[in-house]
Amino acid sequence: MRSLVRAAFSSLRLTLRTRVVSGWMYLNWLVFPLIFAAAGLFVLSTPGGSSSRLVYGVLGGGLIGYWSVAYIDGGNGIQDERWQGTLEQVFATPTPLWVIILGKVAGAILFGLLSFVPTAALGYFGFHAVLPQLDPSRFVISLGVLTFTFFCIAITLTPLFALWRWAFSMVNGFEIAVYVLCGFMFPVAILAPWAQGVAGVLAPTWAVRALYASTMAEGPHDLVAWWLVAVGLSLLYLCGAYFLYALVERRARVSGQLAWA
């Protein structure tokens, strides 16, 4: 058990070391969220609009960056390992794949959290958008729950990328749709009913809803219920992940395709 924890930490350390020098990582945690935050803040601050909407610009860019890093990095990480020929090497070690991916995702989560720094700064300095109604303890718990949902989704998706390269481009194709469905920059309530239904089964939707509610005085505040739904859905994903990892380990050993660049 201790050796597995050590292996996960080693994988986390490796992720941090390789990502610190990766231009893509800076694109995803720094540039990309800033651009979305800027676009969002300009649109949301259109003259005549309600200033309470600005909070969506301030946090939205950060959420977009956080999500992108959390899940993309798993996919990119696997792709990198495939190119370098190390995917097969790590697969052949006595450490299960999920432990290695756990470390990778944890590294990505740390980078993803950085996204909130530039976007909050832009909101504050560029648009004087502050969060006067923020409830710090609820905000922190909501962010923790959100982190847990991202963590579980990334853990679940990454083995798919190991097995099918096209899965990554498919999921990438849905990337911005996730911003919409999970309510990163505007409430899910404005979407069509069927879209709200889809949004409801995505764990981050509930965590994001709680996060925004913790910054606003008005509106419903069933935060505890939302947290529980988010955590429950995430645990469901993990159950699916259990079978996915078994499938990946099996399929990889039948076809030997981890070795393909």
Binding site: I35, V43, S169, I176, P187, I190, L191
Partner: protein
């Protein structure tokens, strides 16, 4: 210039276009094409249309749909051209192309042809989505003028793409810079809100990028403007694209000079 000379240049032009076509669809497998050419554009429009509707009211959805549909040309113009150049490098066809006695400027420019066509197709997909899903209304639009706007914008974004193609010869991460520019265009080019809302200095950047004037012209065309009313905008848009393409060529020629003197073997 003799007839045979022209014929040979046409042949080189055609062949290099064909190379690009092959290269372009090499990376775009069916699944990749669906993901990057259909899903992502729909997503992007969906996001900004919903955001705009939330911020400014549902009656403005078409404004955002139109802007983002046109911004899709940048997808083909920038990433497509970079992919074309990267493929030439990968397959080693670049020196062959340039070693030929054909007009080098023509050869250089021809690399963007397929991507201009691809850009036009992308925008048509974008318009179809904007009309079908987001209520873009073209009843009062000057359709031929709108079509002209699409062609001009495709040309000008491909011009910027040529610049990045040249940068890509020396910089491994040129594609990252291209990503930055692609998304910066969402903010700076009047795609989602008027350029006039940006700080003055930033507006200067807006007007030195392709798309800005083209989007303005297209909005006028949708409102029913005549050619004369937007000719200045379109002319400016073309000039901006040409300026970027020429800058790309100048950079390319400089890099090639270094490479031939042995300073930079890697460039090809």
């Amino acid at each position: 210039m003799g007839v045979s000379r022209i014929a040979s240049e046409v042949a080189v032009f055609a062949r290099s276009t064909y190379f690009q076509y092959v290269a372009l669809f090499q990376w775009a497998s069916v699944r990749g094409y669906v993901a990057y050419k259909i899903l992502l554009p729909v997503d992007q429009m969906l996001f900004f249309v919903e955001l705009g509707a939330y911020a400014t009211g549902p009656e403005n959805a078409a404004y955002f749909a139109l802007g983002n549909a046109l911004q899709l040309t940048a997808n083909a113009g920038i990433f497509g051209v970079i992919a074309t150049v990267a493929n030439e490098r990968h397959f080693g066809t670049l020196p062959i192309l340039l070693g030929s006695p054909a007009n080098r400027l023509v050869t250089f420019m021809s690399r963007a042809v397929v991507n201009v066509l691809d850009g036009i197709v992308t925008v048509i997909i974008g318009f179809a989505i904007a009309i079908g899903l987001f209520g873009l209304d073209l009843h009062h639009a000057n359709i031929p003028l709108l079509a002209l706007c699409v062609v001009v914008v495709s040309l000008s974004t491909a011009g910027l793409g040529l610049m990045f193609g040249s940068i890509g010869l020396v910089m491994r991460d040129a594609i990252i810079v291209a990503n930055v520019i692609y998304y910066v265009m969402l903010v700076l080019c009047g795609v989602n809100f008027p350029v006039s809302r940006l700080p003055g200095a930033v507006q200067l950047i807006s007007y030195s990028l392709p798309l800005t004037r083209g989007v303005e012209a297209a909005r006028e065309a949708v409102a029913g403007a005549s050619f004369g009313q937007v000719a200045g905008l379109l002319g400016g848009e073309l000039l901006v694209g040409l300026a970027w393409a020429l800058a790309g060529y100048a950079l390319f020629a400089t890099l090639e000079g270094w490479a031939r003197r042995g300073g930079m073997q890697e460039a090809y």
